[in-house]
Symmetry: C2
Subunit: 627 residues, 2 copies
């Protein structure tokens, strides 16, 4: 039999459009004599749609279009695709979910000639950005409760052209942390081959891990595995995810026999002969580097976020620093130089160095460039506000005085909320947010100033990745002005941040980047007490480097923090910002394109609460400093 | 035996502090000869702490302080209180959650002399702002998987002073939508009395529903019920929840015998004699009105959000419209007139009427007042940006031109991000967001302009509730200037919005308020097709009023929308804004204090996707317009 997966693009929340995409794929497959077409998980509804899952008319449409698609099946052609449906529509039995609304399932449809069967997703992910049990019926939980035993629809096999297919959905294949092992069960009940339909977003390093994981499944069970993932851009409001496809297949020895490119639509064909899966074409796959994958992801993310939002033009505040420079290079590639306008907004604190970089950047990119100084407006604000004397009904008054720190923020807000916002709206454009993950972590930015913009394209990149990506972009020729790569990072908002004097940000990037990553991004977040203990033991750099080779050395740490007192003072300063002001700013920050496995927003969820220092840390600190 | 519940205040994410509060309560109870002290759910860790649940050192501290508290138990004194713990610490068996981290439980500790027993929460809510299965081990799911049967720790009874206590946690008592019925099980296994420890936030109407619900439980089972809820302010970033207490008890006939006031700390004592619960004091409880409850909640929310954030002063942009007026009245009450500064920021479009209202408001409140015009800055922006000609490397250029609509937004941003932000930072204050739920729904506001500020105190109030609350605040004397209650709502950003000519917002509040509520707030969201069908049937007002008496009449709808074409044009216009621009603005909007059962943010979750019109709606519309 001839099997195909189609790596297609899914639009979130548009069953009509997705049906049309699937229908084309089905028609192509039939024309090509394919017997079984495999399409991704949730291919009709899309996946990240917030609480739209609660809208019954939306689920009605998913059911309607799924049924329409299933009608394409005939005696020579079957389909496996993912959709959402009411449980009642499948079982005929009324049943509510735990939220009191009609229960829904995330299901695979196995459509054969005149018939549809359903295989529900059983392992429902509920971490990071995933929250499927919020919306979907869980076989496991429901089956335990009295009267529900019969609803326990677990795994079955589905016979197509004499072959028994085991059908799993995404997380069903990632069973390490579950005692229930779907792949193993499917082998036990006689599956000849196992299909995993997915709709899984890009995360740096995930493809490599997936390849090992599914290869291992195939080898261990001695069954071929087809992994069919979708493409697209979806979001949960605060966090934007790029679904990269990278669909693949392994034969029963666990050998990779097909691997689709990231972010490219593709039909991939196989024969299933003598219980073995054979690719129609020889494998053409070259493992890519992480930075290359991140680059592709950001370009795809920017391009499609703009497209989905009906936007074409972008204004970027180009300071001549590395972050806005990288952002400009990415946007120029994603949307075209003719749609990009760089605006340099100097004050007296900005150096000719950074202004020069901004101009050179515009020249390198061939985009539009202009300069709008903020000094006049800052002076107006000072004139209007400084010395202002509000009164009360008794005739008493208070006096408002702007400090130089207040004036730094006035300038930052003037750039974002006045100049960039006005230029963008006038040009029919939007303006970008250029914050990186390091400064986002500790809120080293001004709300409504640099914390503003329609999208934070590099908001999930640590500062060291910002530099790596600039160097990657310059791999063939200089696009990012080389000067920016050696410049001291600085906000240039006061004399104390003069880049030409080597002054700048208070963040020691080689150290703080890794520290913040350990706090925020490690799956098991690094406890403060462990960090302090490693500092005391003299192996903190090794601990924070987490097996990677980085610029962080034990010497660098010792140099900057000669004793426990200076070390803990710095640690607590940044921890308080991370858990305090940083959270407050992130609540109102623009959406971030996720590339790591903990992006701020809907992946890494936060409450605005007072920072808390654990007992163990406080005891250790006391001992280290006072004894 | 003497039983007490203490309605105490819980701080999110601070086990040390919460332990101290509990310890005081325990010492009071021992002094008063109490045999059993009942404290709320999650009383040691707090409840809404985002993904801080993933931090192992935090859970370690919860365990440490829970054990410390349990040591207070002696031969005459026991405690029941809520906390979080690693499953392994309780069972001694290593066990991971589905996220691969060490499994945790939301549990009650039953601490008796030298002994602690644990009763896990079984029904874990996973809707609205709740997402307990994300973090906590679920008895039900785990028990089904091979090898896990023994982990199935379901309900037991706990004997204290010869009485068998059934212990439930919050959702365990709200079993309508679950087939598993904890209260019924507890009766069957011999509980003499049932305790429900909770940490449940205020939602308009919930107390009334809870009283009916638990009364019914008690009556049906013939067992007394004690409901012990906590106080406090907690948030999930975008949404702020007020935990109102309202702890209560019912005897075995289902009669209410005790009811604590909202937001007030209280120790309430009972005797348990002959299988009946007797209050130490006669019941003193008067049911309160919904608007009174909302008022109390907002005052509590404002006061405590500021306290938790270490803030004392507030600046409000007082336009003379009803929203900022209400906000000012609430803040004056919550934080004191001396901490409140009203700033009127007129342009040429602002009427003397609204300026007069703002001044009168400041006089009524006795707070600080000043005026900062925005005209000069708007002119500067026009001068700097209008006609700007960015160039590219080839010497070509484009021209930037500000439209009058662009200038409306320039003014709005000037008020929020320039003037209010600068004054607030200079005064050591923050500025407020005064958006109501109606305008928030459709994004009728300017990002970084009126969509800015540290907290949206009235962001979960529909426009009609804004008026109701103003009238409630004026119940004894005029605080809110009466003029504002009859003024046409208007943004006053152009000639077309002149209030003195009766011009203003494009929103027809009596209709759109109810329409938006049906879309967003109804538990089963109103489908567009149903709305159109009711319009065609002439009973849309009845449908949208949803059993309430409101200003919306069939006549008003007919008057504004004489035919299906005008009706659907309006419907689609607002629906697109609700699902489109509205979402984009809400992503970056300040946190909202929740009062309804669907607050924007972390309760009602959203993705930025293209609005979708269902097949059924489109077909009905076509039929209605063209046939």
């Amino acid at each position: 039999m001839k099997i195909r997966y189609s790596q297609i693009t899914v639009i979130p929340g548009n069953p009509q459009k997705n049906f049309e995409t699937c229908l084309s794929a089905a028609q192509r497959a039939k024309n090509d004599g394919v017997n079984l077409l495999i399409l991704p998980e949730m291919t009709i509804p899309g996946y990240m749609i917030g609480d739209k899952w609660e809208e019954s008319d939306f689920i009605d449409d998913c059911e309607f279009f799924s049924n329409e698609l299933a009608k394409e099946a005939d005696e020579n052609f079957s389909l496996i695709f993912g959709t959402a449906a009411f449980l009642e529509s499948i079982t005929g039995k009324p049943r509510n979910g735990f939220d009191g609304r009609k229960a829904k399932v995330n299901t695979a449809c196995i459509a054969t000639n005149g018939n549809i069967q359903y295989q529900f997703k059983t392992l429902l992910p509920n971490y990071r950005e995933f929250e499927e049990p919020r919306h979907f019926f869980n076989n496991l939980t429901a089956s335990l409760t009295p009267g529900d035993e019969e609803d326990r629809l677990m795994f079955d096999t589905y016979e197509i052209c004499g072959t028994k297919f085991g059908v799993t959905i995404c997380e069903d294949g990632w069973d390490d942390d579950y005692n229930l092992k779907p792949f193993k069960i499917l082998k036990e009940i006689g599956a000849d081959i196992i299909v995993n339909i997915s709709y899984s977003p890009f995360t740096a390093g995930k493809n490599q891990s997936r390849n090992r994981h599914f290869s291992n499944h195939a080898k261990t069970l001695g069954k071929a595995v087809i992994y069919a993932n979708g493409l697209g851009l979806q979001n949960n409001g605060k966090t934007v995810f790029c679904f990269d496809g990278s669909s693949a297949a392994w034969n029963s020895k666990g050998e990779l026999i097909a691997h689709s490119k990231m972010y490219e639509e593709e039909d991939v064909d196989f024969e299933f002969v003598n219980n073995e899966l054979l690719p129609a074409k020889p494998l053409q796959y070259k493992e890519t580097s992480e930075i290359e994958d991140i680059h592709k992801t950001l370009i795809y993310g920017i391009r499609n976020y703009m497209k989905q939002s009906g936007l074409s033009r972008v204004v970027i505040g180009a300071s001549g620093g590395v972050d806005s420079t990288l952002a400009a290079a990415l946007y120029a590639e994603a949307i075209g130089k003719e749609n990009l306008l760089l605006v340099n907004m100097p004050t007296k604190f900005n150096s000719q160095t950074t202004i020069g970089i901004a101009q050179k950047l515009a020249t390198n990119l061939g985009c539009w460039y202009t300069s709008v100084p903020v000094s006049e407006s800052a002076a107006l604000t000072r004139r209007q506000i400084d010395g202002l004397k509000p009164t009360n009904a008794k005739g008493e008054n208070i006096e408002i005085n702007l400090s130089s720190f207040n004036m730094e923020n006035v300038q930052a807000r003037d750039r974002g909320s006045r100049i960039l916002a006005a230029i963008a709206s006038a040009w029919g454009a939007v303006f970008t947010n250029n914050g990186n993950k390091t400064e986002t972590t500790v809120g080293y930015a001004t709300l409504y100033g640099d914390v503003a913009g329609f999208l934070a394209a590099i908001g999930d990149l640590w500062k060291h990745t910002v530099y790596d990506l600039c160097r990657y972009i310059n791999r063939e020729k200089e696009i990012v002005p080389n000067e920016v790569l050696t410049l001291k990072p600085s906000a240039e908002l006061s004399e104390n941040q003069a880049v030409d004097k080597g002054l700048g940000d208070p963040i020691i990037y080689p150290y703080h980047d890794r520290l913040f990553e350990a706090w925020q991004q490690w799956w098991n977040h690094a406890p403060l007490a462990d960090i302090l203990q490693h500092y005391l033991d003299g192996d903190l750099a090794e601990y924070l480097n987490h097996g990677e080779k980085t610029e962080l050395t034990e010497e660098l740490i010792k140099q900057n923090f000669p004793d426990a007192k200076s070390f803990t003072a710095d640690l607590e300063r940044w921890y308080k910002l991370f858990k305090g002001m940083g959270v407050a700013k992130r609540i109102q920050a623009p959406p971030i394109i996720a590339v790591t496995r903990r992006a701020y927003g809907f992946d890494y969820r936060e409450a605005a609460i007072q920072p808390y220092f654990s007992r163990k840390y406080l005891l250790l600190k006391e001992k280290a400093i006072f004894s």
